[in-house]
Symmetry: C2
Subunit: 347 residues, 2 copies
Amino acid sequence: MGSNVTLKHIAEVLDVSAMTVSRALNDRDNVDEKTKQRIREKAKSMGYTPNRVAKSLVSRKTHTIGVVIPEITHAFFPEVVRGIEEVVYNSGYQLFLTNANEQFEREKEAIETLRAQRVDGLLVSSSLTREDYAFYKKIIEGGAKVVFFDRCIENIGASCVSVNDRESSQKITEHLILEHNYSKIAHLSGPQKVSIGRERLQGFLDAMNAQDIPINKDWIVQAGFREDTGYEAMWNLLQDHADNLPEAVVALNDPTAIGAIDAIQEFGLSVPEDIAIVGFTDDIRSSLLDPPLTTVHQPAYEIGEKAAEKLIQTIEEEDPEVEKIEVPTRLQIRSSCGCSSDQIHTD
Amino acid sequence: MGSNVTLKHIAEVLDVSAMTVSRALNDRDNVDEKTKQRIREKAKSMGYTPNRVAKSLVSRKTHTIGVVIPEITHAFFPEVVRGIEEVVYNSGYQLFLTNANEQFEREKEAIETLRAQRVDGLLVSSSLTREDYAFYKKIIEGGAKVVFFDRCIENIGASCVSVNDRESSQKITEHLILEHNYSKIAHLSGPQKVSIGRERLQGFLDAMNAQDIPINKDWIVQAGFREDTGYEAMWNLLQDHADNLPEAVVALNDPTAIGAIDAIQEFGLSVPEDIAIVGFTDDIRSSLLDPPLTTVHQPAYEIGEKAAEKLIQTIEEEDPEVEKIEVPTRLQIRSSCGCSSDQIHTD
DNA sequence: TTGTTATATGTTAACGATAACATTTCTACT
DNA sequence: AGTAGAAATGTTATCGTTAACATATAACAA
């Protein structure tokens, strides 16, 4: 792959030194204009493609960025990747994409490979589900340029781009409490070792506490990140507490909410009449559900852009600031929370 | 990025030659077991990561594959990428992902960069919309390993993985004709320079001809690939031919169909009562639409797997066969075609 | 003409790893 | 002890490009 023509070949044919060819093709000064012309033409006709591998070995830059995401099917991530792509492309970098499939082992391996590949920087949304920050700590201390997005690992010297999960989660919970007067509210939560799992649970609790609503621990259940795990968690909740069901459910993300809606309907109850439900993400499907899902709209594309910009800055600047960047969300009110379509508003 | 420890550093510390270190870390024979141990330990404690850039320069292999897709938001492609990822990961390769955004210029640039990067092979679904095969012809003749998927460019020496677009399109059109007795059928087609655009139109025509149904050229309109272009094309059709509307529409893919449904409903007509519609893809949203969309289910994940397998074979084998691989589709009957939910069956 | 700058080009070494060949150090056996 | 042969280690050159330094040619002034 790549052409097999090298500087040397061109040099031999034209009877000049490889260095002159290099200079000519990089349009440096100190090369006779006629020589340049000759070299450029010959390079083109011979189908020369510069070998970036060799160039990288010398320059110690690969103009390459590694992206690690935990899921590629959850529509949120492709949209983030689109944002990243756009920025990165315009800055002359290439993307290595790796999908860790929610497995931290795989994430670690991917990162090792990416580093061996000498990527200039890493954009990661971690699948980490236990408190094993040592891995990241080590590579960041070793000088790796890392920016986390969505699922952040904080206080280890890397910047992070995400939404304000805690506040957003509080807001949507308060919508349930203040607009609909629900007080029996459940939470389908994420793994507590993942930042969004923690933060969104905290936001839920903040809302409950702020409104002085007692918290029923039986109604706070671990539900993973996907449709199937959401379905299962909701189904168990319905089974185990059939005598005392919540009026509303706050799901940690839309796929989970989608699974939960299935479970509720299959259980013979209806949404939102028997149980209202809200999500978090604003998945591409959410407006199409029956009922349409009330959720927190997360600007995925923008998260990608911001993360990529921050990473490139981190790579290129002398002494980059470590930042926690928050991009604003908005409530996307639809009808799964109990709002009728004419009272729908956004906040 | 990457550690800055090299073989040489380790060698100096241990007072052996770099070669011995190389041999030890690659677990070659002819290195004393004790020395190996010493070297491995030191390498670990110094945080050594082999520099693949240097390795690649010597071996002329990067263990890297470039993927070029035309859209990343159309859910079909992330799913294909997941299939690719799985295969590629298990074979020890890494993925470079590039999104060409339906722009051929961008696709070309991406491929140039990827080749300069010396990827071992290329997986591409082309955004090509004019007859400019010269570009691919040249690089394939130059020895590049390329496998096309979904949107193929044929007869230029590269393998290709896709569904049987023509036959599938014919089948779903015949469903409209034979099961529902529609004869006034429109087609929202794709660019004719893209293989799927041509093939799916052909399949539509095959069905019409096979059933002896006259074709109304006004009802065959170019509709791009996306929701917005589908909406626009359908809207224009409705406006321009309000006096003589089709009873059914065959859209070249689901996003187009989704846009078209919006247009029809906004126009004040209902689906499928006034106009029935079918798509092609089986997008993640299609079962959630109102009405749920009848479509051709395309096994995206499998297409990805097959394409990746074929590429790796093409890279690694001596004298790889150029193949056209077709993966089977199935009709996914839902109700947008006029089937009532109890008569839904698959074929 | 001679010397002095520019300008154009060439040479060498380096990036980090490894293949190919060369050398040293063991082991084992007469 | 002496030596063949295996085992362990070292040296050199290479992959393709470029930085840093060196040299050759041209252009110009005195």
